[in-house]
Symmetry: C2
Subunit: 214 residues, 2 copies
DNA sequence: GGACAACATTGCACACCGTACAGAGATAGG
DNA sequence: CCTATCTCTGTACGGTGTGCAATGTTGTCC
């Protein structure tokens, strides 16, 4: 088990370094094995000494992202709604600042230590809010779904542009009120679907529904 | 504009045929251009006569999936909650029966005619439920996020197994109550996160929150 | 009817991708 | 020193999306 006691040449890398490089190269989607290897000045095959396959790299990246949004935001003396909202927005920010990260979260299983921690804290929050353990578990999943789903949709739509760009671009589209009357009527709001404002609104609405079950 | 009036050989295919083939080959993820071409007995480049690129094929697939869940479920005399729930469950079913479809929905922009129709009908439902147009638009997006997010997470977890398989597999895992007390306590519920029951619960909870804003 | 322009389709090629496999060199314990 | 073990590389295979020039078919106009 001791790392020092095994024969063979010293390792020139570590799994962490690989994830670091992958994170640095992350742009729209998880970088290729070959790209990461190139940045590390190494042949692609070398990475297979540290990772079984590309999926492992993606899983490691997922855990990184979850940790980058500070899970401590889920604790503290603020109201429980506030704590959920703060962490949710932080996570959304991380996922949007790394395009494609959200899609990764949806693809790679979230079985890392950070996701367990986040789940536990969300459960604690809902129990503390007066929900039964069952409803707390249900609510926890509902919140996770909302955050990941929303971030993924927004990330796909943003595509590197700013929130404002998207809104104004959408506003410049005109909808035929004869075909889609309500869409046309509510277009100014629909145009803001991928904004933080909408994100907070739907999260709060969801939390209201959860609170009702207490 | 007349299709008949242009020179050159007759087209041997149509965009629809391509999407048909892609749908037939769909398994876990959208098939490759080369695979679809092979099934149609044609060289890969031929497809580029009908589609600008692979992304277009994916967008067309997305619209197909949305249409496969019957959007007419959104209309009728049933209660508005019921209509939303029915279509949502139908869409969930379609997305789960085609692994990887949900991820596609999240990646490819939903700008097809069916998504417009679904959006319009959801708006109508919420307006009919007494919400202001603004809140209706917000609620519509919240519902879309929930359905797609939930389906994507579940599809990734299901991975070809049945709902029951996943639940029992999860139940057989034991969580250390010293590290994650609430997770351990609520594990029987957490194990059912990827079931239709959880899906309906969170959707109803979300709809309750939406109804509150009326 | 013949010329011409527009078009669908193909063959070939390029630049990627993940990764399997065998071998070369380095390093530890015996 | 010997040998087992480990890292890293060279090479290769089968796959991907798609750009480009050539081929042959088809319609319209003179």
């Amino acid at each position: 088990m001791d790392e020092k006691t095994r024969p063979g040449p010293k390792r020139s890398l570590s799994a962490d370094q690989i994830v670091d490089a992958a994170l640095a190269l992350f742009d729209g989607e998880a970088p290729s094995i070959r790209g990461v290897a190139a940045r590390l000045g190494v042949r692609p095959n070398t990475l297979y000494t540290y990772l079984p396959d590309r999926a492992a790299m993606e899983r490691a990246l997922v855990d990184r992202f979850l940790a980058m949004a500070d899970p401590d935001l889920l604790t503290g003396r603020r109201s429980w709604r506030r704590r959920v909202e703060d962490y949710a927005c932080a996570l959304r920010g991380v996922l949007l600042s790394h395009r494609g990260a959200a899609a990764l979260l949806h693809t790679a299983p979230m079985d890392g230590p950070t996701s367990a921690l986040v789940g536990e804290r969300l459960l604690a929050i809902f129990v503390g809010a007066g929900l039964t353990p069952t409803h707390a578990a249900r609510s926890t999943y509902a919140v996770i779904v909302h955050v990941l789903g929303s971030a993924t949709l927004t990330a796909a739509d943003l595509n590197g542009y700013t929130e404002q760009d998207i809104v104004t671009a959408r506003l410049s589209v005109t909808i035929d009120p004869n075909i889609l009357p309500l869409t046309a009527q509510t277009w100014p709001v629909v145009a803001t679907w991928n904004t933080e404002e909408q994100f907070r609104w739907s999260l709060r609405t969801l939390l209201n529904g959860c609170a009702e079950t207490a």
